[in-house]
Symmetry: D2
Subunit: 333 residues, 4 copies
């Protein structure tokens, strides 16, 4: 059921790179991601906090910016390999009639701001300023000791047609969840892991969660312990548990503005071209987790809007389940 993948895409996206969130109180959110998530702040400038994981050399993988209204997701960012890929991208988006404009972003090289067909706001760049990796600065480590940003999950009205778009850009599928002909989750990657981008159906585009890799399974407990210590025990929304697709240990937290962040341990590699997508049928709890309590309903329905982007409802809900019954079924285990 999955659309074709273009193994020689028009330009080379290498990986999911960063995310820009608007938040009500930058310092409060920064402290959450530093103390509970274990990110380090590379820079605080003009009221904006630039954070990165302990193993990251890039200037930022998470940017916290003051919200002008409701807290939203401003942009998600991908890296392209070379500068010339940016120019090829400009041509590609122009030809598709999709928004694409050059923007100035501090601490990044030349940056192209585009929208995908679902309306998600996306930055493309080929470089950032570089900083020393912090994974051996053990005296500064805290919380989840998040190592690096891995992927983002986006809710869109029609994940199947959007999968075709990303397939054209060379995104391959590691695993997916389906109910009959309905695509309930598509886990797509560029960088040779399981995921750079997950697409799930619903009112969208909305940013469902972004995810950082941790280096030890005990870090999954640590993020909960630090959350508890810093007054965020009730922000532990789901888990710890083990996902069905990709098989990783996970825990989800809501940040002080309700943006959802996942911490999980590293998944397998998917570099080889002979690998086929793995299908999961949405028939039982075990589709979603190997063990662990089912997700609470709000895990399915709450997500972050993209700043200034109008929401679309799905033309057709997945059949035979509506989304609600799907969620309900899962929450009942």
């Amino acid at each position: 059921m999955l659309p074709a993948v273009n193994l020689k895409p028009p330009f080379n996206i290498t990986r999911f790179s960063h995310i820009v969130l608007e938040v009500n109180d930058v310092e409060r959110s920064r402290d959450f991601y530093v103390n509970v998530g274990g990110l380090v702040e590379t820079e605080f400038a003009d009221g904006v906090s630039y954070l990165r994981g302990l193993s990251e050399a890039c200037h930022h993988s998470l940017v916290l910016s003051p919200a002008k209204g409701r807290p939203t997701c401003k942009r998600i960012g991908y890296r392209v390999f070379l500068e010339e890929d940016l120019d090829k991208a400009k041509v590609f988006f122009d030809e598709k009639g999709l928004p694409a404009e050059w923007v100035d972003v501090p601490n990044q090289g030349r940056t192209l701001l585009v929208s995908d067909p679902a309306g998600a706001r996306i930055e493309l760049c080929a470089s950032m300023t570089v900083h020393p990796r912090k994974f051996l600065e053990v005296h500064e480590h805290r919380g989840a000791r998040a190592q690096g940003l891995d992927h983002c999950q986006v809710i869109v009205p029609d994940p199947l047609s959007l999968s075709a778009f990303y397939g054209e850009l060379g995104f391959r599928t590691s695993e997916y969840i389906a109910a009959g002909d309905d695509l309930l989750a598509n886990f797509m990657y560029r960088k040779g892991g399981c995921l750079d981008l997950a697409l799930v159906p619903g009112v969208g585009p909305r940013m469902h969660h972004f995810a950082y890799i941790v280096s030890e399974s005990s870090d999954i407990f640590a993020v909960c312990d630090f959350a508890s210590r810093y007054g965020y025990a009730e922000n532990v929304e789901r888990g710890p548990g083990r996902h069905g697709p990709s098989g990783v240990l996970f825990v989800y937290l809501r940040d002080p503005d309700g943006h959802r962040v996942e911490f999980f341990n590293n998944h397998y590699t998917t570099i080889d071209v002979e690998l086929e997508p793995i299908r999961w049928d949405a028939a039982s709890l075990s589709t979603n987790v190997h063990w662990g309590l089912p997700a609470v309903s709000k895990w399915y329905f709450e997500a972050s809007d993209f700043t200034g982007v109008r929401l679309e409802h799905p033309e057709k809900l997945p059949n035979p389940m509506t989304l609600e019954r799907y969620a309900e079924g899962l929450t009942k285990g």
Copy 2:
């Protein structure tokens, strides 16, 4: 509110030692505890399986015996230090008018079978046959790699008065949960950890759970992974999470007959006489856990009867909460 503790008890109970369960299918239950819990079988004789943890030298800490009817808890066992403590125990129970008879138990030294005032069936012995510890036989390790039996939780109609009985026997309290004057949990110990025996209120006596120590926090995930692999994913009843009292990481599973077993990482030591019991007030989620979803209702109400022992209802439910509302309050977080 806690009763006095006798620091020079009439005989010397050193630790919670073993538990005897009646099960519908000994081999199925044995496989559960071996494959998921990581226990090793010391001996299988006369249809009975004798199991121990990887760090245990004693012949058995868990005995699985064929049930004649419903699966029940047959006995819980304590060690006394010396043979002469058994004789002193006989005198003590006789003087109290409590049942106490000498019984033959394979692989144990002289054994005294008694009932406590709540009717729980208890074995006392001073020795077992000894076997090599298995904690370095890494090629045989599985599941939780349970190291050793630690404690047992018993539901009784009046935990406060039973606490006085165990206090007379030298059981001290590490931590307890109370609501006003009502004792909702009393965590008592002899061996210098947090717990040998937990007493909680309700219809009883019933065995709520017994608990094995694991050696690494990742073992808490391992027990879930092995449970999933062996078809017991839905037997993961509660957790992983972190308890308030004692502060340990925990996970609870139901065995194939519904007996409840906890796996948790090691708790602190309590040898010193100057330590005072720590009180928790039953007012919020945080009384019970530092983080983690609240327990499902059945965690509070389902437990194993003692074989052939009549259940008593509490004269008075904890006030201001009834037990049900207490559980309900917790399950709602």
Copy 3:
């Protein structure tokens, strides 16, 4: 001092893929890698054992083949992305006047056997047969629970000139060790980690070690414990310790024939084009390790010959240190 890197190489090598060892007793070696390393055997056919890591879907990352004489390294293998990359590779090697012939290898797609300028024997292929990943088959896990093959270290007479060759093929350097103008170690990658190929100076070409990733730091201890349990305690040659370059936890073992294998935890990612190689100066213990005893001398000088390949001595030893004094200095800390 490092040679230029070609960001648009003539064909696309994606990753270090597999290694073929000749061993005196295939079953004994297989048992070593299965019981101590934690690999799983995909197939045993015609006296050859095909092994892979728990997270690998490819048919084999380690092939154990019966030795006709001394145990040697038969070939090391790389993946190319597409079938057409193989044809481009054939042209490339032919034009260089380097050996390149098509060979039939079971369970691999079309395979090109080449020699690099140092004479190392190398297989290139674009696909293998695919098998279910085993990382959640926890009941089969053993020893290091090796997840996947990561890199290979090769001793060559002139690592600097060979670095130019691999740079032309798109291999970039993550980190390197130098003493003045002498290149003492070059850690090169294609797949976006720290390493696919390490080049170090000495009599060569010889295969110094190959390395598998483990998923938890406790697996580093586990491999030692399993080695001890299976009679290989003295095969633990170096470590556990933490490397300077790449910063990983490591342990090195010698297999029953003396081939050297490393187990280490995962290193950081290096996908972005702006990253510059990190230089380490070979002046102190800290060049080589953050902590841990210095390597024994044989770690520097013993390695596996390539089957049927003549050894060359370096024209010039690194200056100011000879290789021996280099090793001696390190072993004295």
Copy 4:
């Protein structure tokens, strides 16, 4: 060969409790134990630092006091159960003609200062002031996250005769190393683990090392990583490795004054009276470790003198090995 154990000793020593070191620079040493070992400082008063482990409620388990000359071990401390045990102890030492005087020690209850027959200086007390345990204050955790003090190893000229003295006080042996009739190590306990006091032969009395328990095997790596970060990489003297006797993972560090501290993961329990001591023969590397490089010679011969106590040489060196050849044999593996 081991002397008898008195199961009803004249007074009740419950556990090894604390150690008092004299150091050249209290703040430097404090920082070492806090940043690398992970202890917390309960109090700094009159130039003395009082430290405890994360799971300890007692005021101090390590006391750092300014040295008047060479850094030495001032005292080692044991707990007795009740106040009356102190009075019984006074009678016992007086009758033996061993030094025993009441001393005032801040933050401890009534304290008896004694010497054992080998001249080691020992404090006995029944209580300390109590402080909140810190094991869940995760934001303050560092280094080894040492949980609690466990045991002390003392070098004495005649460990066999001193074993008889401690046997009379109820110390039982978990494991011991012997060469023929020579006792090379006696691992004795009171608290129901493997060790409170280890006795080894040599010029003495000297304090060889004291040891803290860590809660996860990864903490063994953490102490090395923090040592490296704080400039103490070369203070990692031995390990990581796994001991033969007791089977624990260990690492030894020298503190800034050369006092030796071990960090190890928890060992098994030994409460039951039927347990027999386990004998190891000092014939091979495997007597001492399951895997890991042999100890360097200084590990055997360097130790901390007791303040103001005259050293005695053994009358007779272990036969057939002299101590030196014993150490040499071990260091050669």
